[in-house]
Symmetry: C2
Subunit: 375 residues, 2 copies
């Protein structure tokens, strides 16, 4: 049903793995176990999601020298073989049994695992295994993430496509939303439309918050009817070819009053100031500050409690964080959200969010800017 013509985007998984292996060798790590689903997909093309952190659909075992493998179980074998060119090895008697063999074969002296996506309980089993093989166990936290933080032109193309489809869905709903719809109905219509247009699904649970509910930045859609002349915050994103979009729009069903218009304008000015500050070399906290200053100067500083934005890619929330504490710097190829908000308990809230790619000469918007729909 999607009317957008698709040109093929080819991802070179092999060179991603080679790059990781080179980094492993530099760090004198002999093999790594990849457990984080986005990293697994990034390196292998294997798409199966995990059903929670306790139920992995597979792991990658990547030696610094030698062939990477995808480890999975019977249930995922056909999908894995269809989606990745890596060799697929099944664990018949649990993953630890198989890892015992692989660590032994690889003679790894230093064996790394993803500390930030491995449960403490599983790490105890890895420790026992490492002790048995006299291997040093090395927790790592951002090896693959560092590779993912800078997007290639192919990835930017996919993220732009995901964003464009997300906007199509938004405009479809915007044309049809009525004051008698509930928040849940609206969120459900959005997620249905996403799938109809070919998205893998929403990239997070769609937020539809009307009236006072807008004061909760992470509101869960309720059975509340939106109501005439009521403000609505819609925070939505979808997954297309693995890549996420994330966008927030805020508008009134009916006629906005003066307060709403004033708050909306302040947030929009803050957003534009944040986007204008985007350039290579600037510290995250300084981008945050550029937007936050507008809100603070308007007297609403205490109503903006979260960070200005975050990276987006295979995960909807990933590095970098545009936090007011972070001294890390923007680099070309990073993709970030810019999403200031004002949340007033008892009144409601306004948040506006676009995605921006960092280019040599500044920030380039990934969205068609539909922010100004009502103002």
């Amino acid at each position: 049903m999607s009317a957008r013509p698709k040109t093929a985007v080819t991802i070179d998984y092999e060179s991603r793995i080679e790059k990781l292996k080179a980094r492993l060798r530099r760090k004198k790590i002999d093999a790594i176990l990849i457990s984080r689903p986005e990293n697994r997909r990034y390196l292998s093309g294997y798409k199966a999601p995990d059903h929670g952190i306790n139920e992995t659909s597979g792991l990658l075992f990547i030696p610094a020298r030698g062939c990477a493998r995808l480890l999975t179980d019977f249930r995922y074998q056909l999908q894995a073989e269809a989606e990745t060119s890596l060799s697929v090895t099944l664990y018949q008697k649990g993953v630890i049994g198989l890892l015992n063999d692989l660590v032994s074969q690889s003679k790894a002296k230093r064996f790394a695992f993803e500390s930030h996506y491995t449960l403490h309980s599983f790490s105890l089993k890895l420790s026992a295994l490492a002790e048995k093989h006299k291997t040093e166990l090395v927790p790592v936290t951002d090896l693959v993430e560092r590779q993912r933080i800078i997007k290639s032109e192919e990835e930017i193309k996919l993220l732009r496509r995901s964003t464009a489809l997300n906007e199509d869905v938004f405009l479809f709903i915007y044309d049809r939303i009525t004051a008698d719809m509930t928040e849940i109905e609206t969120a459900s219509a959005i997620e249905s439309r996403m799938r109809q247009l070919g998205a893998e699904g929403p990239s997070f649970s769609t937020i539809v918050a009307s009236g006072e509910n807008g004061a909760l930045p992470h509101a869960v859609p309720s059975e509340k009817v939106i109501g005439q002349h009521s403000a609505v915050t819609i925070d939505m994103g979808l997954v297309l070819d693995g890549y996420c979009s994330d966008m927030t729009r805020n508008f009134v069903v009916g006629n906005p009053d003066k307060t709403y218009t004033k708050i909306h304008r302040i947030v929009r000015q803050a957003q534009l100031a944040g986007i204008a500050a985007v350039k290579p070399g600037i510290q995250m906290k300084d981008v945050d500050r550029a937007a936050r200053k507008i809100i603070a100067d308007s007297g609403h500083g205490k109503y903006f409690g979260h960070a200005l934005g975050h990276g987006v890619g295979l995960a909807v929330h990933e590095a970098p964080s545009l936090s007011f504490r972070s001294r890390r710097k923007l680099k070309p190829g990073m993709i970030i959200t810019v999403e200031p908000g004002i949340y007033i308990p008892g009144w409601g809230g306004v948040r506006l969010e676009n995605m921006v790619v960092v280019r040599e000469d500044g920030g380039e918007l990934l969205n068609n800017d539909t922010t100004f729909l009502d103002i």
Copy 2:
């Protein structure tokens, strides 16, 4: 839109917490940090989901003596205060800062955390904190789960309600499914209908697998059109008042051929044999074996690679596991799925799944049995 009359079900969160505290005292644990979302909801009533294991929407700090608290951040404050009667404490400067204060105040000598829902990277921070306060850090894996495994009559009522709504959704779709629909369209229609009827959402990503795709037990819906005379596996569940349902149906859009009818009958017989074996005191592996024997005797043993079933409650997959290895025993009040399957690569598959509550005198079906729709 739901036509089902709802009588209120009151959950006594306070007595759940008191029971846990008594267990902590028996184990000489002075305080515990609860991170697993289902455990958090079970003990507090706070409904916010986590956005992945890296983004908690809150933690419980429960001292063996003294008042339990919900720890969360600014974004969730209003929701938390509305949903739980526990005192809500915000972490302004990260959760570790707050935990430092709480562990110090509580003078805990033994401080427990949920090893099976705590990232290794976070456990390193807890270790440093424990060292600073000369507290022993105690990893636990199933303290709250053991409490959750036996359902109260109120919980059984909620699980039955979730199952009944799930069947309503299934029958709605079953009446409307046509051979020209894609798997994705069908899954999307199912999930929309769930929300329309008042579910919080699906309890897992709905599986719609047609024809050969049925050979993948965890198939992801694709753009494949179902096709005339094609078998369809629909594995679906929803969340209602926090409680999950999980059900698999298998039927043909059009006319089933002889092979399909034969395989379907074998799986159905295996399911009935499994359900008939359910009673207090039987080992999990023996329930599994009762069903597996029928499939093995028919010559399809190698095409049934997964366990017979699993517990269902606030999580869609929880203890116990009806594994062919487990010597643990069924007890009254446990709720399990019974879901044998036959998966033949290149042909397709059949799986049938119902939910069963273990009663003193045997297994009681939670479903209205709609399994026989086509046979």
